[in-house]
């Protein structure tokens, strides 16, 4: 069964989408041959991260094939200083299995705010993977992180099980591969990798054990994302690992 490490529920503000609710997303993913997915809600990106987390939590309760990731942002809103911190035990009790950070959507610089370090230290202690997307989808209209910022954050927190997402261009892949060489905790997600024979090249240079299939569906076309793995010039064992086994191992799924 193909497992998608980077899917979404929720509405898409830029153009009409045919899948938004959890039921619609599960059906859309299934139509593309994807049987399970780590999700967060787009509400977390565009409205409020915790409201979106509640949607992801409810979606996973209704559809066990969905694994919720907590999308975390700043606790400071309406110019009031934050009170308290993140309730990681609570997130664990609610079924969350990992974290996603979207600084480019949440108006903070991840190298200069304390709360990001707090999140990453807690995630490392729990062994929770942290998804850090350079871009949400492969579309130039979307806000991006800077490559150097991504690299600096990973180097600052090498114990975190990182999943670098939204990587495509050659220099971005080079950065990711360099981080993978430096830190055994760094993984690479495939949703935005579009280059000619790029999956095979990455697998040859970094091994297939830390490559994770991601679709960014249903915003991106999941079948197209699957196709690049199915047709990649890698061994069948590597293909299975990329499509499912690596993510299941990382998330400790049965």
């Amino acid at each position: 069964m193909i497992f998608d490490i980077n899917a979404f529920i929720g509405r898409w503000p830029y153009w009409p989408m045919r899948a938004a609710s959890a039921a619609e997303v599960v059906a859309e993913l299934a139509g593309w041959g994807i049987g399970g997915a780590a999700v967060c809600s787009t509400r977390s990106l565009f409205v409020h991260w915790e409201d979106g987390n509640r949607e992801a939590e409810h979606a996973a309760r209704e559809f066990p094939e969905l694994v919720p990731f907590a999308c975390l942002g700043t606790l400071e809103v309406s110019h009031r200083l934050p009170v308290g911190g993140y309730d990681f035990d609570g997130y664990a009790a609610r079924g969350f299995r990992g974290v996603r950070l979207y600084p480019q959507h949440h108006s903070y610089h991840p190298l200069y705010v304390d709360f990001v370090d707090a999140i990453l230290e807690d995630a490392a202690a729990r062994g929770w993977p942290v998804v850090l997307p350079l871009r949400t989808i492969m579309n130039w209209g979307m806000p991006m992180l800077e490559v150097g910022v991504m690299a600096a954050l990973v180097d600052r927190h090498p114990r975190v099980n990182w999943i670098l997402a939204g990587i495509n261009y050659l220099h971005e892949l080079d950065m990711s591969l360099a981080l993978m060489r430096r830190h055994a905790t760094v993984h690479l997600e495939t949703s935005c990798i579009m280059g000619y024979e790029a999956i095979a090249k990455v697998a040859a240079r970094a091994g297939s054990e830390r490559l994770l299939f991601g679709s960014a569906g249903p915003i991106q076309h999941g079948a197209a994302g699957v196709a690049k793995i199915l047709h990649a010039k890698v061994t069948d064992a590597a293909r299975e690992a990329i499509l499912s086994g690596n993510a299941r191992r990382l998330l400790r799924l049965a």
């Binding site: 009409p16 492969m138 130039w140 579009m194 249903p218 915003i219 076309h221 079948a223 994302g225 690049k228």
Partner: protein, 245 residues
């Protein structure tokens, strides 16, 4: 018949490409493509004469598989560019013009208009790496020219805004859209066909820059009628290039 309307041949260190006809035809065989429409990278970015000559050689090696886009590396070469297009049509048997544009060196300028007029005369469609706004400028100048907006707005200079590309094509009936792109947004193709009809959408992969399997799947896995898919996957580009099917 499946025809890839957007393929690059030749060399570019910037793009990390060195691809001859043999490599590209072998890839086309794996993908099940009958024909590929190629533009030479040297002609596109450095020297039109040398690059188009190289492409013509590859076309002769694979006459049943490679269709040629003549390329110009600039609009600023006046009569030499027009003569090159004549040569590409009559001596090399090429079937259209491919040209690139960037925000810092846009081809949406008066110097491009005689080139478009020459393309009309030669019955060349023009595959342009253009933004919607550039297409609108050019088609306002030479409305009878058939322009294919490479990537349908899904390229960096157009900010990936394929919705804007569709709006431009709704205004200009001779504007066509090519599907090749790193962007694989769901709903893109359905929106194009709903707004413009399948006759104005062309399948392309941008091989060997992009993964062609991704480009195929984002077209084939849509909820379109087979007749529409047949047009998109090859019928339209052959009709525009005047190639018998």
């Amino acid at each position: 018949m499946t025809v890839d309307a957007h393929v690059h041949i030749g060399k570019s260190t910037r793009l990390q490409i060195d691809a001859d006809g043999e490599l590209l035809v072998r890839a086309a065989d794996e993908l099940g493509f009958d024909r590929i429409c190629c533009t030479d990278l040297t002609a596109l970015f450095y020297d039109m004469h040398e690059g188009n000559r190289l492409l013509a050689r590859e076309m002769r090696r694979f006459p049943d598989r490679i269709l040629g886009w003549a390329s110009l590396h600039s609009t600023r070469f006046g009569r030499a560019a027009l003569e090159e297009l004549e040569r590409c049509r009559h001596d090399y048997g090429m079937r259209g013009l491919k040209i690139y544009s960037t925000p810092d060196m846009s081809i949406a300028e008066p110097a491009m208009l005689p080139i478009l007029e020459k393309c009309v005369e030669l019955e060349f469609p023009v595959l342009g790496h253009l933004t919607p706004q550039e297409c609108e400028y050019l088609l306002a100048g030479v409305p009878e020219c058939r322009i294919i907006m490479a990537h349908a707005g899904s390229q960096p200079f157009a900010k990936g805004d394929w919705n804007r590309a569709i709006m431009a094509a709704q205004r200009f009936p001779n504007l066509y859209l090519d599907t090749a792109s790193s962007t694989i947004d769901t709903g893109f193709l359905e929106a194009c066909v709903a707004a413009l009809g399948a006759e104005r959408i062309l399948f392309g992969t941008d091989t060997p820059l992009l993964d062609p399997w991704v480009q195929c799947e984002k077209i084939r896995q849509t909820r379109l009628a087979k007749a529409d898919l047949d047009l998109i996957m090859g019928g339209n580009i052959l009709r525009l290039m005047g190639v018998e099917q």
